[in-house]
């Protein structure tokens, strides 16, 4: 066998040995238009707002997940409620974004890199209005080819994040707000 042939075979073997390492690389999935809806069910009024531009990154191999959401991108039906939300309650000029950093933990030892439906627990730190709090929630993931869809619903208490609701409108805003996340990630 010539030296050239040996060299070529060695290179091919090295390349083959490297392949499993590349396959195990932590694929990242991202989205810039996740939908976050919040719903306040209060005695005097129901209020809904939608944000269609949540940005998020997910690493299925580790479960690492991060969200960043512009507060001013929450859209209300009424202009007055949108103004109060931004200027008085969330003070979005001072705190323009809500951020979540955490981890998805698949239930039953499931592997989030495998195609199919998965239930997972969500644990992490949610920062709203400059105040950080632990968040525990559940999520359902649908893992496909180059795409992952995730949905979750959980409750957030405005008071936990230093959000003060004036007494005059207290009966119009629920003490716990229902938050729904619906997001489709594409492989980056």
């Amino acid at each position: 066998m010539s030296r050239a042939s040996t060299g070529i075979i060695a290179l091919l073997l090295l390349g083959a040995a490297a392949l499993p390492c590349r396959c195990m690389a932590q694929d990242k999935y991202g989205s810039r238009n996740g939908t976050i809806t919040f719903f306040s069910d209060a005695p005097l009024e129901d209020i809904t707002a939608v944000n269609r531009h949540a940005a998020s990154v997910l690493v299925p191999a580790t479960g690492a997940i991060e969200f960043s959401v512009l507060i001013r991108a929450f859209e209300f039906e009424k202009a007055m409620m949108q103004e109060h939300f931004n200027e008085s309650y969330l003070e979005s000029r001072k705190f323009p974004k809500a951020v979540f950093k955490g981890r998805l933990v698949a239930r039953g030892g499931d592997d989030l890199t495998k195609a199919g439906m998965h239930d997972a627990d969500v644990e992490g730190l949610l920062t709203i209005h400059g105040v950080e709090r632990q968040l525990h929630a559940t999520a359902t993931l649908s893992v496909g080819d180059q795409r992952i869809t995730a949905k979750s619903t959980f409750q957030v208490r405005p008071a936990d994040h230093g959000i003060t609701i004036p007494a005059i409108v207290r009966e119009k805003i629920a003490k716990e707000i229902q938050v729904t996340v619906d997001i489709t990630y594409l492989k980056l």
Binding site: V50, H53, A73, M80, R93
Partner: protein
């Protein structure tokens, strides 16, 4: 008689004032968030210039542009639709990562990728992209005008 007329007149004025106040309060309370269509923009610029302003100094750009109606000229990089049918148009900024994302209030006709467009919208801020909401298409200005 004069006193009765006088008090009747005053009562009428007070009632009219209260009715007027109630009318305007109801209008203010139920008013919807303004759309861009038919309104004069506060800033007219290129999409890439708006993005560069945010990249250079996000806080200063936020103070200047948040909630302002901005008219942008730019090239369509991509179009899409939100999960509930709102058209989104991304304008190229020349950067590697971000763009200017424009969301329309309904499912308008998407322009072709690579088209030069003029879009008005209210600036919501910067989060990987500069985001404009409640957008509307404006007529494209021809060269030399």
């Amino acid at each position: 008689m004069d006193k009765r007329r006088k008090y009747g007149f005053l009562l009428g004025v007070v009632a009219a004032a209260l009715a007027g106040a109630a009318y305007y309060a109801t209008r203010a309370f139920t008013a919807k968030v303004p759309e861009a269509d038919g309104r004069k923009p506060e800033y007219v610029m290129l999409a890439r210039d708006l993005y560069e302003d945010y990249e250079r100094d996000e806080a200063a750009a936020a103070a200047r542009y948040t909630d302002k109606l901005i008219e942008l000229t730019g090239v369509v990089e991509a179009t899409g639709e939100t999960s509930d049918g709102h058209l989104t148009v991304r304008l190229a900024t020349g950067g590697d990562f971000g763009s200017v994302a424009c969301e329309f209030p309904d499912s308008a006709k998407a322009p072709a990728t690579g088209t030069l467009v003029v879009i008005k919208g209210y600036c919501a801020g910067f989060n990987m992209d500069v985001l404009l909401l409640r957008c509307a298409f404006a007529p494209t200005k021809t060269q030399g005008q």
